[in-house]
């Protein structure tokens, strides 16, 4: 077992265990914090996979943005005075059965499939290439994303404002 493997298992454990807590723990604030760990773990996995820039973006946007947003959401939709901000769960049994089967199918299929594996290329910095691609090949999508953000901005503002 190489160091690479150990790091992988570490991040994998962080990701999955905290994700498990995210969806099971009753206290919402705790959940939100576990979500933070999950994102962090995922970012680590990105690094392992050689996606340095994406990992950075993951940390900045998810850990720095979305989780905070979520926390705001939690705060705004609960009375702060209440000591334990908790959430209930519903339809555990059917959900467990359904999602369990689905997960089974999903993992079994994915893990057992024969993927087109090529010898892995050496890990190179990706930031520059990504930047070039974003303004050339994927320029149009990049622009579209801008519009998405604009729409999200307008939409969210329109809903949230008085």
């Amino acid at each position: 077992m190489s160091i690479y493997d150990i790091i992988f298992y570490l991040f994998a454990a962080i990701t999955l265990i905290s994700a498990f807590f995210v969806v099971t723990i009753r206290n919402i604030v705790y959940s939100a914090f576990f979500l933070l760990f999950t994102f962090f773990g995922v970012a680590g996995i990105y690094v392992i996979l050689g996606a340095d820039f994406v990992a950075m973006v993951q940390l900045i946007i998810y850990v720095g943005g979305i989780v905070i947003l979520m926390l705001f959401g939690v705060m705004l939709t609960n009375k702060i005075t209440s000591v334990a901000i908790k959430t209930g769960t519903s339809q555990i049994v059917p959900a467990a059965i359904g999602v369990g089967m689905f997960a089974g199918i999903l993992t079994a299929t994915l893990v057992n499939s024969h993927w087109r594996k090529v010898d892995t290329a050496p890990l190179l910095p990706t930031t520059q290439s990504l930047g070039l691609m974003l303004i050339s090949e994927y320029g149009i999508i990049f622009e579209l994303l801008g519009i998405i953000l604009l729409i999200a901005l307008i939409g969210a503002a329109s809903l949230a404002r008085k």
């Binding site: 339809q91 059917p94 959900a95 359904g98 689905f102 199918i105």
Partner: protein, 709 residues
């Protein structure tokens, strides 16, 4: 007079009454005495028939005058080429004599009705209906094809319906009309089936053409059996119309109509149409068919005669007597005594009409009292009626010097000869028994009505002889019941002009081996070899007759006197018994009735025919009709109703959930189908997480299915 003139006259005879009908029907309301128009029309018609009769018999005694035109043409058929359904007249001696009789009686009844129906609310319409009847009846008589005969057959049925139910406000009258029509329809269905068979075989309806083709060897389905069936099916029509057993039940009920109508339709003319039909189709009747006809005739002669013994309604007695006499004629036809049957048809028409009109006169005098047990002693009050009634009764009983004696004797002679050749002695036995019964009940009727003490003093006191218009027809008809109109010899009709010159039995078309053995041509030697009649489209030469075997001729000859004496004897016996019972009262009729109560009851209750029919056929039809209606509403409607779903939805939407609709089978199906819709709704809980769980489950199912493909 040319043939064409005769046809013209026939056309006039046929349509004049229709004109009268239409005129009176449409203008009866506006013109006060519209009925006079009808009466003058019928008088003219009668005169025309007399002219026709005279000229036909004088100038063309042996010729069938035919005139026809194509009514419907079906052209260019694949196999048959053109088919033409023709309408046309057939003037032979049979039809001119018959039409004369019809017109004469019709006229007399018209005249009689002037007084009899006086004051009725629908006086004019009554005469209109009579006109319609005369038209229809003339059609039956004059036509030259079976389809047209069927058409007029139905039309007389309708006029009979209208006239029986003339006093429609009386439930019994409208019931009787309906019953008459429906019972007749049963016979007509048989007749129509026969017509279908005929048409299917010969592709024509014209009698002559059918006979010609049959003589040439074409048979229905190439089988003599089916020929017999055809004959019998056609005879079904006669069974209905002539009130033969077992369809005789309508005739007594038909007495609900006005009495002159009974005289005209239900005694003299329409009911005789059945016999006339058998006469017309005689050439196609096989031996087997004739035998069955004879049996039906015999039964129809005997059963009503026994019923007539105990009836107390004057018209009912006469009605059963009519059925019995018609049975006589049918039996005569069945045993081969063709001429005598027709002879009896004519004589019977006159004296029975006379009897009915006479009874009408009595009823009129007694203020619509019909029960003979409440009459009596009317001889003094109504001498003319009594005299004519007596003459007619004598004729009916078969007493010499009357026309009835001649014709009845001929029939008995025929049965006798038939029995001696074939050994069926029950026919003459039935004939003589009926002769005795007839004499008995007729004189019972006369004694109770005209003799003895009046039972209802009040009505008796008010009784008075009928006016001239009612008396005149009685006189005319009773005169016609005397022998000399038909033959110079009061004891033997064979020599008379009626039987020897005017009426000829037809040539048989039936294959030789299907006939009675005594009618086979090949056993004949003495009579000239008769081929097939020489027939062309417009006219037919008559003069060829049924060729009876020598043995038959001989048997007839031998039977003449025995039959005559025997018939005289039984008639006399019958009369004597009547006197013993009712005039001298040597034996108490009531006591006898009590002694043989079951038999008496059987007779008095008309052999329970109506009860049996009501309990079986009528009940079955009504029952199945009710059941099917229920079935239709609940099961068919329900089950078909969109596999019941529709019903449920519809009902729930219209808010009227008809509990009937969902009963039974449907209930289950409906519930199930509605359930599907509800199940589907059950998924739409409004909880988005439930939806998503469902999506996950569906995904799992889809993926699972794909893995197994």
């Amino acid at each position: 007079m040319t043939e064409f003139n005769l046809i013209q006259i026939a056309v006039a005879i046929l349509f004049l009454p229709l004109v009268g009908f239409a005129f009176v029907l449409f203008f009866g309301k506006k013109i006060k005495n519209a009925y006079l128009f009808e009466i003058s029309i019928i008088t003219v018609t009668f005169i025309l028939t007399a002219v026709l009769l005279f000229n036909k018999l004088s100038w063309f005694p042996d010729k069938n005058i035919v005139s026809e035109f194509s009514w419907i043409r079906i052209q260019n058929l694949a196999v048959l080429g053109n088919i033409s359904i023709d309408l046309g007249f057939l003037l032979d001696n049979l039809s001119v004599i018959m039409i004369f009789t019809v017109a004469l009686i019709s006229m007399l009844v018209h005249i009689f009705s002037i007084a009899y129906m006086k004051g009725d609310r629908l006086y004019n319409r009554y005469f209109a209906y009579l006109g319609l009847f005369t038209f229809s009846m003339s059609g039956i008589v004059l036509t030259h094809n079976i389809l047209m005969m069927y058409i007029f057959w139905e039309l007389v049925g309708i006029s009979s319906y209208l006239l029986i139910g003339f006093w429609y406000e009386k439930k019994s009258a409208s019931d009787a009309g309906k019953k008459a029509f429906l019972v007749n329809r049963i016979g007509d269905i048989g007749m129509f089936s026969g017509i279908m068979l005929i048409f299917n075989t010969y592709h024509t309806f014209t009698f002559d053409k059918i006979f010609t083709q049959m003589a040439a060897g074409t048979l229905p389905f190439n089988s003599e059996f089916w020929l017999t069936v055809t004959g019998l099916l056609l005879f079904c029509g006669a069974v209905g119309k002539s009130a033969q057993f077992p369809l005789h039940v309508w005739l007594p009920d038909a007495m609900e109509g006005p009495t002159p109508v009974s005289a005209l339709i239900h005694a003299a003319t329409m009911v005789a149409a059945g016999v006339f039909l058998v006469c017309r189709i005689y050439p196609i009747l096989t031996g087997n068919a004739l035998f069955i006809i004879a049996v039906i005739g015999a039964l129809s002669a005997v059963i009503p005669a026994t019923i007539a013994l105990t009836q107390n309604d004057i018209k009912k007695v006469l009605a059963y007597s009519t059925v019995s006499q018609l049975g006589y004629m049918v039996m005569a036809l069945g045993v081969g005594a063709y001429k005598f049957a027709f002879f009896h048809l004519i004589t019977h028409a006159f004296f029975k009409a006379c009897l009915f009109l006479g009874s009408g006169s009595v009823i009129h005098a007694m203020h619509h009292e019909q029960d003979i047990t409440k009459m009596g002693g009317l001889k003094k009050k109504l001498p003319l009626t009594y005299a004519t009634f007596l003459i007619a009764s004598l004729a009916l009983s078969g007493i010499p010097l009357t026309s009835g004696f001649l014709s009845k004797d001929g029939i008995l002679q025929g049965t006798f000869a038939f029995a001696s050749l074939t050994g069926h002695w029950l026919f003459p036995a039935a004939g003589f028994a009926v002769a005795m019964l007839t004499a008995f009940y007729m004189f019972r009727l006369i004694i109770l009505t005209f003799h003895g003490e009046p039972k209802n003093k009040e009505k008796y006191d008010h009784a008075h002889e009928s006016p001239f218009v009612m008396a005149m027809p009685l006189v005319v008809l009773s005169t016609l019941s005397i022998f000399f109109w038909y033959t110079p010899n009061p004891v033997n009709a064979d020599a008379g002009w009626f039987l020897s010159k005017w009426i000829k039995s037809p040539v048989l078309s039936v294959p030789q081996n299907a006939r009675y053995s005594f009618m086979k041509t090949d056993v004949v030697s003495s009579v000239s070899k008769e081929g097939i009649a020489d027939i062309n489209n417009s006219t037919t030469v008559e003069g060829k007759e049924i060729v009876y075997s020598e043995a038959y001729t001989e048997a007839m000859h031998h039977a003449h006197y025995p039959a005559m004496f025997l018939s005289l004897l039984v008639a006399a016996l019958g009369i004597v018994f009547a006197f013993i019972f009712y005039y001298w009262k040597k034996i108490s009729a009531d006591k006898l009735a009590a002694d043989i109560e079951p038999l008496y009851k059987l007779s008095f209750n008309k052999w329970y025919f109506d009860e049996i029919y009501n309990a079986t056929a009528v009940a079955f039809t009504m029952g199945s009709s009710r059941f099917l209606a229920w079935f239709d509403m609940n099961i068919v409607d329900g089950a078909v109703n969109g596999v019941a779903t529709v019903t449920r939805w519809t009902s729930s939407f219209t808010g009227k959930f008809d509990s009937v609709i969902v009963d039974g089978l449907v209930n289950l199906v409906a519930y199930f189908s509605g359930f599907i819709g509800l199940i589907l709704r059950r998924f739409q809980t409004g909880k988005v997480q439930t939806y998503l769980v469902l999506v996950v489950f569906s995904l799992v199912i889809i993926l699972y299915l794909f893995k197994t493909f």
